[in-house]
Amino acid sequence: MTANNPVPQPKKQAENPFSVLLRLFFLLVFDLGSGWFIVQAVQSGYLQLAAVVGVVFLLVNLVLLLPQAYAYRWMVTGLSFLVLFTIYPMLFTIYIAFTNYGDGHLLTQQQALAVIEKETYLPKTGKSYKWTAFKAADNSYALWLIDPDGNTYLGKVGSALVPAKPGDPGIGQADSNGIPTSIDGFTRLNPILAATDKELPNIKFGEAGKTIQIRSPSEAAELKPRYAYDPAANTLTDQENGEVYNDVNGTYTSRTSGKAIVPGYRAVIGFQNFVNFVQSPALRGPLVQILVWNFVFPTLSVLSTFSLGLAIALMFNDKDFPLKKVFRTLLLIPYTIPSVITVLIWRGMMNPDLGIINHLTKTWFGFSPPWFSEPIWAQAGVLLVNLWLGYPYFMLITSGALQSIPADLYEAAKIDGANSWQAFRNITLPLLLVAVGPLLIASYVYNFNNFGLIYLFINGGPPIVGATTQAGHTDILISYVYNLAFASGGRGVQYGLASAISIIVFFIVGTITLVQFRFTNMWEEVSKNV
């Protein structure tokens, strides 16, 4: 390689004024757009997002303005995307792992308090009205209200109370009690009907914040905010019974009763997610199982795909093999179909009642494997499908590598009296492993996170009995994370816990790769090529 030779650089030329203008114009547009975005993000409380866009803002400005950074102008778009969508999500994952982000804790503290302050209760005492109910044909209601001073109002849902008198336009004449006999569009309910109406006591009349609700057959009253916030102590006090709620990791919780106010807000809770992950017995059960399977699955997958691929490559290494090209093309087919589609096809073919595979095994062996209900068969099924998906890759790789092993090595072995097994064992395999070792590890890491297969084929099932979270016998960490975060089956999304598990996977994958770099000389190889 000529990597170390000096490379002639173009002569310093004055930059074309048009291209200078173009660059500055682009920079202006970019700065305005991203500046606006940062302001918006800060206002919405997305501080991390604002920070990363700020980093990209600085990066782009430096690169486009500094002449020394000329080379980076060629890759500034790619670098920005790298920062935004690869590096930032990793850092953001770490941040989320230390928060309680998830259902019940989706909002910022400010937003959560705003929601909580809208909570109201019906005070036992205080200003009250006498009421008469009216009902319309479309089942909406109106209230005729009389306050203690004798003022009368008409109350409807969603709009402010209107001072009204019997005989006003649209309102009928007063009866002996001073209550209008009719209101246009509504019919008056007699006291018995009104008292037995099931909906009426739950309806909040009037405009938001000053709503009126029926308290008893004779009284309606204005609702009051339930919680009073004390910013100094960061506590909420229930106005109805005086209970004090303290801020515990983003959830306002009562010390006396243990009750929590919903919603909480997203807060940094330290290592709580990791502690839950390791300690909680409910989580620990499925987790150990998932972790074991997460190592068994890629190991067996790589072994089986590599062995079959190598066997085929060895077979075709024979020069006289007839129709070699045709066979190879046909054997390559599994590799050519998008794996989502093949996994779904296999899912259909392995249907225990109707699928062709089970139909055949029943005819031939009198046995129909329960691929989707028995743990061991489910695991075997996943491995079988992955074998089909994976062997052509290793067939391609190893047949290339086999051709690069010098033939004189085999001749020398033959002269020394080695049989073909010995030649394979002592020449082919070691040399091959050196060449494809990094790819084996890459394949291991890929299968370690082979979410698509597990999710589409069987969705992690069959379920592990007694697990408190959705977990199955074929679940790997990443599919478990997915279920925790996005498909929790009524238990609520748990972004924090899911991210904590992601970080543990980060560490496992990172360790595997570092060990690979340490024990193969791949890193040095690579470094020589730059």
Binding site: A71, P89, S502
Partner: protein, 298 residues
């Protein structure tokens, strides 16, 4: 004939016999393997043409083959199949064009320019690949969700947001691949142009790009197929059926009554898979070459 000669003859013929036996055994094994690898494709082909369209009643050679399943697939209002195909082509096409442009320009800088941090950057790009962005899927989801509150057309349910996330992976292993190709083009070519006063941009667009075109086509097709086959990110970011890409849409079939919808599913799977399969088989030598770059010492 001497004894030695006859022994030699026997030995030779027996060896030839042994060779022949082993060839036959190999052929049988090869045929079994071919059945293993081709059967699912044949089966889906026959299922697509089988008018009974049910998983249980299908036979390998359907008695009254026809295109009823395709009609059913195209006319089902709940399954906007062509919309999915279009979404997939749109998302993958835009992603491919943008990401190849990004990659090629960056690879040019790495191959032809010398600058501070060049080697560190190249190594960093390789190291980051260790962590697939699949692992950060929660963060990616939340990030796009937050972005959507500020710029609605980049948020969840938008293809623009999905494309941006895909582009995040474009500064990846493909830069090494492309830089490798660029390194094989002799520098003498651009040196000559430089003496004539050509700028870097002119060298890149007018000299190197035309030379790279055949490779760009292959890398582009592979990138297209890669994006086209993605499931996870599209599944997380898109949740309305009309926004699905084809892969997410096809997975929808398994939700309910997979066995009854087997026929239309097969028809859809066939349409989704056949073009990709043909392209792959046509390009198999180039793909094998690309795969073994860096793995096999030439």
């Amino acid at each position: 004939m001497s004894k030695l000669a006859s022994t030699y003859q026997n030995l030779r013929s027996s060896q030839r016999f042994m060779n022949r036996v082993s060839l036959v055994i190999k052929l049988v094994i090869a045929v079994i393997l071919v059945v293993f690898s081709v059967f699912p494709v044949l089966w889906i082909f026959s299922a697509a043409l089988d008018p009974t369209s049910q998983l249980g009643s299908q036979s390998l050679i359907p008695p009254q083959a026809g295109f009823q399943n395709f009609e059913k697939l195209f006319n089902d209002p709940l399954l906007p199949f062509w919309k999915w195909v279009w979404n997939s082509i749109k998302v993958s096409g835009i992603t491919t064009i943008l990401s190849i442009s990004i990659t090629t320009m960056a690879a040019f800088a790495f191959s032809r320019l010398r600058f501070a941090g060049r080697i560190t950057m190249l190594k960093a790009i390789l190291l980051i690949q260790v962590f697939p962005n699949l692992l950060a899927l929660v963060a990616i989801y939340l990030m796009i969700e937050q972005t959507g509150h500020i710029i609605p057309w980049l948020g969840l349910e938008t293809h623009a947001g999905l494309i941006l996330v895909y582009l995040g992976g474009s500064m990846g292993i493909n830069i090494w691949l492309m830089k490798g190709f660029l390194d094989t083009i002799p520098r003498a070519i651009d040196e000559a142009a430089m003496l004539d006063g050509a700028t870097n941009w002119q060298i890149f667009t007018q000299l190197l790009l035309p030379l790279l075109r055949p490779i760009l086509v292959v890398v582009g097709i592979l990138a297209f197929i890669g994006t086209y086959g993605d499931f996870v990110l599209a599944r997380i970011l898109l949740s309305k059926a009309e926004n699905y890409t084809l892969m997410v849409g096809l997975a929808l079939f398994t939700n309910n009554q997979f066995a009854q919808n087997w026929g239309p599913f097969s028809a859809g799977a066939l349409i989704g898979a056949l073009p990709v399969m043909i392209i792959y088989l046509a390009l198999q030598d180039q793909i094998a070459g690309g795969l073994t770059v860096g793995a096999v010492k030439e």
